[in-house]
Symmetry: C2
Subunit: 213 residues, 2 copies
DNA sequence: AGTGCAACCGACCGATCGGTCGGTCACCAT
DNA sequence: ATGGTGACCGACCGATCGGTCGGTTGCACT
């Protein structure tokens, strides 16, 4: 099965290119991926890549856009579901962790796109489609925090700083590769370790964010 | 003044190369940095780089080793100073934030070296000198956490997961570049924003880690 | 005066880079 | 049958990559 998000086991060449490119970009970053290598991995000639994507930059944009949009789609749905702010925030975090662990490439691509999309070769299409999606989602979570604070459920935090904190807590570990595994002594993507991580994040927020009754 | 750690305003060519390479590697990563560009930035011919470093990989290793060792040196000293675990942990976090903000390239180089040093071109010297230093420091902080838990000062946390959490909280924001600035609405490296970040991190740990008396 | 050496340079190398071009092939509509 | 088209390919291009080589300075030491 492909590393794709959902069920659609489409095996069109375009999707196979995107899947392979996603894995390579996640592991090594934009500049270190060669198109010959990618083509060979997919089982196509290098020229064929250009039949599906105008150039390398747009291929990269397509890869990240697919991921960012899929993240936003799933998590906005999660945020929109009912419950008080505590429940909704915890569900959001749970769903985000699920998403990142079900698709092990996501965290790295996401992190890379968050902190190194600036200064890529110049021919990127404006900004990567999907950055807006992520920004919107962050804004929604920010609103959730404010709502919880207003209701007296959360202690007073600086919302924007707390958003950065949340992203750092959730995304970094799943992108940290060998370092994370070394610190942890185990593979972070193991089911039991994922469960443990969820528990720890929840516990931290329960005591560190949720107002004591 | 150079982006170097401390006072030593040495202006040897070797140091200038390291400084410039540090900036470039931090901004764009290993693969995207060309040696011609680096040489021109320093004001040398490209061949001269090879007089000071055997090849690109070793130059990269020297850059990151310099940073990792300097981080470890300063923070181990910070950890060794007295005080109860709460005080020592907070001082460690403060000093780490100081270090990362005084040297804006550090967070990115550190993050990169944590999650993408795997699979670089093969001629790296074993492992990068300094990875051990960081691992040792993480172990020391782990011991600090355990000590605090044993003394009943900290609530019960999964130490290794908490270490990952701490790194994510501290390092990621200062490496997040444009994304962080967009979320925050301000430049994270501004003095007032740094102060705010310190305050927020402290507050999170006070309520989220320190046991409620 | 002469020797050695660190620092530096321009010219060059093979390899690889992203990207182009002309063409083949299978399939589908008319 | 025939024209069109989407998918694909090998050969090739200029540019750039990391790295080498031979040589020239200038300073230190004797």
């Amino acid at each position: 099965m492909p590393a794709s998000t959902a069920a659609s086991a489409e095996h069109t060449s375009r999707d196979k290119i995107l899947d392979a490119a996603e894995a390579l970009f996640a592991k090594r970053g934009y500049a270190a991926v060669g198109l010959r290598e990618l083509a060979e991995l997919v089982g196509l000639g290098k020229s064929s890549l250009f039949h599906h994507f105008r150039n390398k930059a747009q291929l990269y944009a397509a890869v990240t856009a697919r991921i960012l949009v899929s993240i936003e789609a799933r998590l906005v749905r999660s945020l929109a579901t009912g419950g008080d702010p505590v429940v909704r925030l915890e569900r959001w975090l749970d769903d985000l962790i699920d998403l990142l662990t079900e698709n092990p490439t996501y965290a790295r691509v996401l992190l890379r796109s968050l902190f190194e999309d600036d200064d890529l070769p110049g021919d990127l299409p404006e900004e990567i489609e999907g950055h807006r999606a992520i920004a919107d989602m962050m804004a929604a979570v920010g609103g959730l925090l404010r709502e919880g604070m207003g209701a007296g459920l959360f202690r007073a935090v600086h919302v924007n700083h707390f958003l950065l904190t949340l992203v750092g807590i959730i995304v970094f570990p799943f992108a940290s590769g060998e370092f994370g595994a070394e610190v942890l002594g185990k593979d972070l993507f193991d089911a039991t370790e994922v469960r443990r991580r969820k528990r720890e994040v929840r516990a931290l927020l329960r005591s560190g964010l949720v107002a004591s009754r």
